[in-house]
């Protein structure tokens, strides 16, 4: 019979319990989760990269909705449990929802400690605990201004770094003389402080906060005991956490600092277990992820019916997630009489390493600047290895111990099978190697899926790659991300994210800040970067024409003989006798050899000499015609049929809608070309169902299609939705185009983008979420105001004149 398991809390610890439980005892429990947060389970230790903009929320989701469906888990989002009724074995949520249990798992985590000073309840005083806190910080950071972070520990510093990256002036207040004093000794704390100051973060140590000041209920500053006054638009409290044990206490469970559990993670009620930051085990409360995962394993084993599993406590190691600062600390490093230490300092290299030894065993390690040997030292520490034989070279790391080579792969090869590779998930080398060989894994993603190694903070990804290399030999193809081009190791998505996060607003800034390997990029990355910058900073970024392919640089299509073709816009495929006459006159005047009707319902003038282009454009402009952008990664044409104007089958004014769409969207730059079609009825004479975006009119309104293709690949469109009015068509298509502009990789057509991210992304963001749709459309409309200038008219009036003129020999005079 299935037993009922109820889980209170949906953080990383219970998520991991369920992972293990479904693996060990699938189908044995019917699981209900109460989550006070209105969302799925995400990787809380990755909040800092989200704050700094280096990752997005979507990147840190651990279990998505599909996972809960797949495992038959009922996830109650946004429901806070207020009572545990032990007599009736049920829990009750704030809104009255109840659930009965056979086994109850409490995973209420911890709450941030708020220092008791006046003003700590002002608007703008936040903690750093969940995604809502991050959202609040990001929102404030948009306006720039000052941030004060109270607490110079791991979380506080990561918050400070993130806010700095978001453009705020940041001051960190720390009560103790050096930063992160619980994990670092003073020397490493000093180096860390220096590195943060270099990143323009102000640090005040020995800072005793006296009051948080405000006006109209909103925070305005912080006053210290010595009278120092600091302006603040936001104050982040990151002084520590305490286990959330109130619910357990109210239910009469035994608590100390946290909920008391035995080695089986069972509370004073045998049917109630607890896991994570809310527990106190053998007098210890934990705030890092690795111990929680150790506990999760024990609980899952017990729930699966094997009572032998015991949790005996964890030794923890810490890494700081601040880009460019390498810091590692593990164990105990306080000085004492019976302890010795080995220290290595390299002032210019900014390296500091300290090992604390007791009875010839490592009991503590602090590494700053070069943390490559962290895993090795931690392994020696946990195994209490006698290091007397290698003592002389110990501090230089594994590479020197026993004279093994410096090659990092060889160092990984030399690690014993039980050496821990992934500290977050407690995965050791042997487990990974076994999974690679037995399950035929070939990439880091496979290893993540099967062993969880490198799936949390990701700092061991390099080690996992090396293990793959050692195990598979030459068969290992590092999959990682496809780099944009040979100039960088970063993929398109990372580059785009960094452009936003670091507010990079020029190509040289991107090349410099993202460590491009070439001095000025190449013909592959520069056009991509130019597009990304243009799409990200409309109205701010100045287009770099030298980073555009020739067609976009001169607004015409180069032909095989070096001449150009010119295609004026014909809105919705409609033209007039006057326009046709003007085209004929231009063809005569400039002796244009070929005049051709295009597939997009326009006329192409082929074989125009480059120096004639501005004059050709001037004549076309004079007849009211503008560039058709037939050369651009941009909106091309909107093909239409005659619709209700003429057609006896037409259901709507497809021509008129096509013209409206073209007038709305012309001039927009996109990752690749965008072609539209509007058909007046399902007979589909405008072939709208193989376009990037298509509209098929029906009696009841408009079917919006997208992701079709009729080029190298032929693919019918997918239906996005059906709407009732033309205004909705414009809003939905504007939003869809903007989503593609923001997510599409350069030279990726809409259908490829949709295939990569999944059709549901467009469904969710454009159709289901009205607010999101309006935001996207608003961004598109905003960007368009800078784009709708006819490039032909500008050049006919003299812009880029040098582009269209050449030098002739006769002009030259002798110099020397």
């Amino acid at each position: 019979m299935t037993k009922k398991l109820v889980v209170i809390g949906n953080g990383m610890a219970p998520g991991r319990v369920l992972d293990h439980l479904f693996e060990k005892a699938p189908g044995e429990y019917e699981v209900t989760i109460f989550n006070a947060e209105p969302r799925v389970n995400y990787d809380r230790i990755m909040l800092s990269p989200v704050l700094s903009g280096e990752k997005a929320y979507e990147d840190i989701i651990i279990h998505d909705d599909a996972w809960y469906d797949e495992h038959g888990v009922t996830l109650l989002k946004g429901k806070k449990v207020v009572e545990i009724d032990r007599a009736d074995r049920k829990v009750i949520a704030e809104d009255g929802t109840t659930a009965e249990y056979d086994k109850l798992l409490i995973a209420t985590g911890s709450s941030p400690f708020v220092i008791p000073v006046p003003g700590n309840d002002l608007d703008g005083v936040v903690t750093y605990r969940d995604l809502d806190d991050v959202d609040a910080m990001l929102k404030t950071a948009q306006g720039g201004g000052h941030a004060v972070v109270i607490g110079g520990g791991l979380l506080g510093l990561e918050a400070a770094y993130g806010l700095k990256r978001q453009g705020m002036e940041v001051t960190v207040l720390h009560l103790m003389p050096t930063l992160m004093e619980r994990q670092l000794d003073p020397s490493a704390g000093y180096l860390l402080e220096k590195a943060l100051v270099e990143r323009d973060i102000k640090i005040i140590t020995r800072a005793n906060t006296q009051e948080i000041t405000g006006a109209d209920g909103k925070v305005t500053g912080v006053t210290l005991e010595d009278g120092t006054e600091l302006p603040a638009d936001i104050v982040v409290m990151a002084v520590g956490i305490r286990p959330s044990a109130q619910l357990a206490d109210d239910a009469g469970l035994e608590i100390g600092r946290g909920i008391l559990v035995d080695d089986h993670m069972v509370t004073s009620d045998p049917d109630i277990l607890a896991v994570g930051e809310c527990v106190e085990h053998r007098g210890q409360c934990y705030g890092l992820v690795a111990p929680l995962y150790d506990m999760a394993k024990v609980i899952a084993t017990n729930l699966a019916g094997d009572a032998s599993a015991e949790y005996t406590g964890s030794v923890t190691a810490t890494k700081l997630k601040v880009t460019g600062i390498d810091l590692y600390s593990a164990g105990d490093f306080a000085e004492a009489d019976d302890r010795e230490e080995i220290v290595l300092r390299d002032a210019t290299g900014g390296i500091y390493k300290r090992l604390v030894l007791k009875d010839n065993k490592i009991i503590g390690a602090v590494l700053y600047g070069d943390t490559a040997d962290g895993a090795w030292f931690f392994d020696l520490l946990k195994k209490e290895t006698d290091i007397s034989d290698m003592r002389e070279t110990l501090i230089f790391g594994q590479a020197y111990a026993g004279g093994s080579p410096l090659d990092p792969t060889a160092a990984v090869a030399a690690l014993p099978d039980d050496a821990e590779i992934c500290g977050c998930n407690g995965v050791c080398k042997g487990t990974i190697v076994q999974a690679i060989t037995e399950k035929g894994l070939t990439g880091v993603d496979d290893v993540r899926a099967h062993t969880k190694a490198s799936s949390s903070c990701g700092t061991c990804t390099g080690l996992v790659e090396q293990l793959l290399a050692v195990t598979l030999g030459d068969a290992f193809q590092p999959d990682a991300v496809q780099p944009m081009c040979g100039c960088t190791d970063m993929g398109h998505d990372d580059v785009r994210r960094m452009i936003v996060a670091q507010e990079l607003k020029s190509i040289p800034a991107v090349l410099q800040e993202l460590n491009w390997k070439t001095s000025c990029g190449c013909a592959k990355c520069r056009p991509a970067l130019n597009y990304y910058l243009l799409a990200t900073w409309p109205g701010e970024y100045v287009d770099d024409k030298q980073s555009r392919f020739i067609n976009e640089r001169v607004h015409a299509n180069i032909q095989k003989d070096g001449t150009y073709s010119v295609v004026p816009r014909m809105w919705g495929g409609i033209t007039t006798p006057d326009e046709l006459r003007a085209i004929a006159d231009v063809a005569d005047k400039f002796q244009i050899p070929t005049v051709k009707v295009t597939g997009g319902q326009r006329i192409d003038l082929l074989g125009v000499k480059k120096e004639d282009l501005p004059a050709v454009w001037a004549d076309l402009n004079a007849a009211g015609m503008v560039s058709g952008h037939a050369y651009g990664k941009s909106l091309r044409t909107v093909k239409t049929c005659v619709g209700t104007d003429w057609c006896r089958f037409g259901t709507q004014d497809s021509t008129g809608l096509g013209i409206k769409l073209e007038k709305f969207m012309w001039g927009s730059w996109t990752p690749h070309k965008v072609k539209l079609g509007v058909s007046g009825c399902p007979r589909n004479c405008a072939e709208a169902t193989c376009k990037d975006i298509g509209v098929v009119c029906v009696d009841s309104g408009y079917e919006i299609h997208f992701a079709g293709a009729a080029g190298m690949h032929v693919k019918g469109t997918e239906i996005l939705c059906t709407v009732e009015t033309e205004a909705e068509v414009l809003e939905y298509i504007g939003a869809l185009t903007q989503l593609y502009r923001e997510q599409g990789r350069y030279l990726e057509r809409i259908y490829k983008w949709a295939d990569r991210v999944g059709l549901k992304v467009a469904q969710e963001q454009v159709v289901e979420n009205a607010e999101r749709r309006k935001e996207l459309n608003a961004r598109f409309v905003y960007s368009q105001q800078f784009m709708q200038n006819d490039p032909w008219a500008e050049r006919a009036q003299g812009k880029d004149a040098e582009e269209f003129t050449s030098f002739r020999l006769a002009q030259f005079g002798k110099v020397a």
Partner: protein
């Protein structure tokens, strides 16, 4: 010796244009009797003169994207090293290069080459 670039014993330098007439990372074209010559300017203001014909299918190199000392042909993306005129591997081919000097902001080429 570079067998494809032409050298003369007595060079007569002629001014083609000012350095500023060539946009950085851009090009200008000289129409000469022997054909078109492309003048390129790099970000660090080096100037190169090449025959304006890609060794692949005759594409106008002057219309390509300039990056460091290379230019990518607009027709089929061959990359030509502007210093040597050679196509970047795996493509094979070479385009004529011409001596060029920048003096006092003036771009000078040897008149003999253009006669």
């Amino acid at each position: 010796m570079n067998d494809m670039s032409v050298e003369t014993k007595t060079q007569v330098w002629v001014e083609v244009c000012k350095l500023d007439d060539i946009p950085p990372q851009g090009s200008r074209v000289i129409r000469a009797t022997l054909g078109c010559v492309a003048l390129f300017r790099t970000t660090d203001d080096k100037v190169f003169a090449l025959e304006d014909r890609c060794p692949h299918k005759g594409g106008p190199l002057s219309q390509g994207i300039v990056h460091e000392n290379g230019v990518t042909c607009p027709l089929h993306n061959w990359v030509i090293d502007m210093e040597s005129g050679r196509a970047k591997a795996p493509d094979e081919g070479r385009v004529r290069t011409f001596p060029v000097e920048v003096r006092d902001g003036k771009v000078l080429i040897d008149r003999a080459l253009l006669a």
